[in-house]
Subunit: 612 residues, 2 copies
């Protein structure tokens, strides 16, 4: 620990173990691991552990298990998607939407300038919506909950195996805590500076700062989401005034897409900012030991980053279009702009687009820009600097020789940042895969594709592009397992809500079994649209075209009923069915989840018993 | 283990350690423990452990913790009850029910012979209902969920302490399994009898027998519940024909009470039967070790006995009166008898009565008859036998002297049956206390009262009335902890459903905040009753009195609406609110429960850290 103290005091710039050059192991790792040619093979985890230590070995073992277990849901997700493609022509609601003979006139999408429109114009969107929102999606969501339980148990088993093989069982929890040298340094400095009576005040101040910062960031995240929403609302109304009919047709799609890209950029930038803030906050807390430091840092950054990543998706899934009011009584923001609504076939398709764009975009940009491009630039600059210096002062032979030595070469490499960022990236991906799988069955396939590349990319980074990390012994993946467990359980809840509130599964079922006379879906589209008497539009907001009635997507009483425009009996019965589904799904699937856990545990114990 | 084999073969009748007479310990236990005078003191658990062994020590320690922790919910439950008593006069719905000026004519409770009746005649029942079903009940149910978490964690802590004090930490799980002598005996017999190829068939047969038996018992339980319901239905309609008006008035109460007593007797008898069947079934399974035997027996008897004890209560809470139809379209059993309905102010009051009767009755009868009276009779008979023999053959002096020896005295005592029945009784009581606490806040107080007596009763039994048990070392209460955990989590679900579906909390809230114009409860009774046009009664079922409309408790459209007698908009909105409440309660309270668990665990760890 002496060298660490010196480092903390700034006597040395850095200290790191050297990369092996004499022994073959790095070479083997390069060929058998950090190579796209061996993608189909298992990783040489024992070798990784030998070279990098247990902590990194466990990370790659975990990543391997995760990637391997992503194969079944990927295949099943693609099957679900294909099922959607093959049965889209037999689907009654989307056919009805596309049927121009039904002659359904919808209420305008914006005030004044927008015209009434025919439902059949959103035919393709309705068909696309069906691809992700058909009966099999529910089964797939249930399967994914079971899968999450299996994944967690499978990993526990693998971890046990590794613990045994790597001889980590004797590693005690209650070792004498090893104080962080930064802590000791800072403590001594502070001791010198301040008296004891000030300590409490400072502690109080720190806690205050912390909570204010966290609140501020929560606020920033939500305002970012809201900002993008406002951008969409404004752009939509501005562009709608464009008289060119072609531009008008593509407005909605363009605004949605640019909105999502904007969202993604905000997420990416805020993620980096939040990472830095989390480190700063944790340093402010001045935790005693390295373990405590890491645990607090992980907790903080997980909280901030996951909120950042998931907030826009939660917004689309559960809030967008829920508070937009009804024709004649819209909700306005800034008293001028109407609250945004989802596209007519439901919010699910927007959720799909959002999810796929963020997943793809985040992974592509993070993998390419942050993990490949920036390090490369960093190295180029470093080399340039070295050359410049080399050009200015003529180095003597000894200097030049020294610069060729291994520690000099390694010093030019990027320092090792810890495995936490790697875990974080994967865990957030796991969140995308599990939390919203009910709306986007292709998510596991995307994740699989990314991870296959990610493993080799990370491998190459560890072997060639960063300084060799200190070998750290640890007996499990620690707090990350708890976070995984938490996400898995939370995903059951989100999936239940996505299926019942975002998708149209429940209203369709209710229609088929209660309101349709013959048990088929025919007439569903007609049934799901309410009537609006255009004379009830506030003056100035109605289009100039003359029709007597327009339709909008909601369950409300028609204008000729005694309580015009209040929620209808259908609305309440569908709501009850939705809530019933949520309860049923939660109880049933959480039960399956727990049973899955138990079953695996029992099997594992039996297996253990058999081998003994 | 040699003596056990001999016992199993029937060479000896029984083997047991003798009660101490020379040392003071039994005397001290008698004075300091098995004595109603020391009720307010803690039990001398160390002494109990010393005399009876760890298993029994742990049981009494657990019982002590449970009883002690019952004090806060008892006090709070009584406060909730008192709150009900003091505010009953300000409660609008029950006042409205009692108000004779509203002049509400209700539909008849039986076909033909029953007359229309005025709502104000059930005034006292409505008031009694309010005592158990007011706003504070919800808070109390939430409190009880938290309490359950605290109780479990508190016990874990105490167990840790005891483990440390009693030096049980070194007790290993993976000891060489010690085979039950009965197993060895039976195995050898069977080996001699049958060939290897028959084994599989026998195993198959055993599994078949098991499942058939269990199914049969499930059937018996449900048919018992159903049988009592049929008894009530029949009695009600037979007694209603009685022309005497006074008899008529008390019909409902009499039938309910006799029904409950019948139910209780059935439960008590079936419980003994099920206990015997569970033992028989487990012996049929022929488990290898004593631990396995006990675990399977516990699981089976817990399953059967808890189902038996809770089935009638579940019936009243969730099924009674839900499927009785509506006026003009009642549901009939055996095509003659109308399905039973709950009393007009709701099923909650019946649930209360059922719960209090079963809890009180079961505990009184079990404590007095099964635990005191029957052993006393047994001993009297034994003594009688001894005397008879003594009278017939003149014993010589040596014989007489031998019969006075300790082992002879002890042999006359009842054999020790294991702690499982004691645990079972308490766990089922815990089920009563936690599962339906939302409907009966006095349950913890009843349980507390029972337990204070139970501890001393059990103590007296152990010290004076049964043979001294073999001291068994065990490091925790084993499977019972898991069962407690399971009951606690399940209780959150049942309480959520009781509050939303059995009590009238949710409909009242919905009325107050949505349908009532001024935010008060006035008009609720009027609103919760639907209209029925008496001309729609099937011929022969209407009373002779002439009124045009009668009312019934349901949310259905009135006769003059387009869809007469279908569920109204109110029905669906109340249903949605009920389901929403269930979701909210479950998520929120399960979360609180888990947090409570975590908080205690963290505190326990901290405490441990501090003391180290």
């Amino acid at each position: 620990a002496g060298i660490m103290s010196l480092l903390a005091r700034g006597v040395y710039i850095s200290a790191f173990p050297l990369h092996d050059v004499s022994i073959l192991i790095r070479q083997v790792l390069h060929e058998e691991w950090a190579n796209y040619g061996v993608m189909h093979k298992y990783q040489p985890v024992d070798l990784i552990r030998k070279y990098f230590g247990e902590q990194i070995g466990l990370y790659f073992a975990w990543l391997g298990v995760y990637t391997q277990l992503l194969i079944p849901p990927s295949v099943l997700g693609i099957i679900v998607f294909l099922y959607g493609i093959f049965t889209v022509d037999t689907n009654v609601p989307s056919q009805e939407t596309c049927d121009d003979n039904l002659n359904i006139t919808m209420c305008p999408l914006c005030d004044g300038v927008c015209d009434y429109w025919r439902l059949s114009t959103v035919c393709s969107l309705a068909k696309a919506s069906y691809l992700f929102d058909n009966g099999t999606t529910v089964l797939f969501a249930i399967f994914m909950s079971l899968w999450a339980a299996c994944f967690l148990e499978h990993w526990k088993r693998r971890q046990m195996c590794l613990k045994h093989t790597w001889d980590l069982t004797s590693l005690e929890d209650e070792e004498v805590p090893y104080l962080r040298p930064e802590y000791e340094e800072a403590l001594q400095e502070k001791k010198a500076k301040m008296k004891a009576k000030w300590k409490k005040k400072v502690l109080y101040l720190i806690v205050m700062t912390l909570s204010v910062c966290v609140c501020f960031q929560v606020f920033v995240t939500f305002s970012a989401v809201f900002g993008v929403a406002v951008y969409r609302i404004c752009m939509l109304s501005v562009w709608s005034m464009n008289p060119d009919p072609e531009a008008k047709a593509s407005v909605r799609m363009t605004v949605t897409t640019t909105g999502i890209i904007l969202n993604m950029l905000v997420v990416l930038v805020l993620e980096e900012v939040y990472g830095a803030i989390a480190v700063w906050l944790t340093e402010l807390e001045l935790p005693k030991t390295q373990e405590e430091f890491e645990e607090r840092l992980i907790f903080k950054s997980f909280f901030l980053k996951s909120m950042n990543a998931f907030a826009p998706i939660f917004y689309v899934a559960f809030f967008k279009g829920r508070f937009s009011g009804r024709p004649g009584d819209y909700v306005y923001v800034f008293s001028d702009y109407r609250m945004e609504e989802c596209a007519p076939p439901g919010c699910l398709i927007e959720l799909c687009i959002q999810l796929s764009m963020i997943m793809l975009g985040k992974q592509l940009i993070q993998n390419n820009v942050f993990e490949v491009l920036i390090p490369k630039m960093y190295r180029t600059i470093q080399e340039q600097k070295g050359k410049d210096r080399g050009g200015e002062e003529e180095m003597d032979e000894a200097e030049e020789k020294r610069s060729k030595q291994q520690f000099h070469k390694d010093f030019a490499l990027e320092p090792f940042e810890g495995v936490s960022p790697e875990y974080m990236e994967m865990i957030i991906q796991y969140g995308f895969v599990s939390l919203f799988v009910a709306s986007f069955p292709l998510a596991p396939a995307f994740a699989l594709l990314n991870n296959v590349i990610e493993i080799r990319l990370d491998a190459a980074k560890f072997v060639t592009e960063i300084r060799r990390p200190d070998a750290v012994r640890c007996k499990d993946i620690g707090i990350w397992y708890n976070i995984l467990c938490g996400i898995s359980k939370f995903s059951v809840i989100t999936n239940a809500f996505v299926i019942s509130f975002t998708s149209e599964f429940v209203p369709r079922m209710v229609y088929q079994y209660i309101y349709s006379g013959n048990g088929t879906m025919s007439g569903y589209t007609e049934h799901s649209l309410s009537y609006f008497n255009v004379t009830n539009f506030p003056p100035g907001t109605a289009p100039n075209t003359t029709v007597s009635m327009c339709r909008y997507k909601d369950y409300r009483d028609p204008p000729w009923a005694p309580d015009a425009y209040t929620f209808s009996k259908q609305y309440w019965s569908v709501l009850a069915a939705k809530l019933l589904f949520v309860i049923f799904f939660q109880v049933k699937v959480l039960d399956l989840f727990d049973q899955g856990m138990d079953r695996w545990t029992v099997n594992a114990i039996k297996l253990k018993g058999d081998t003994l």
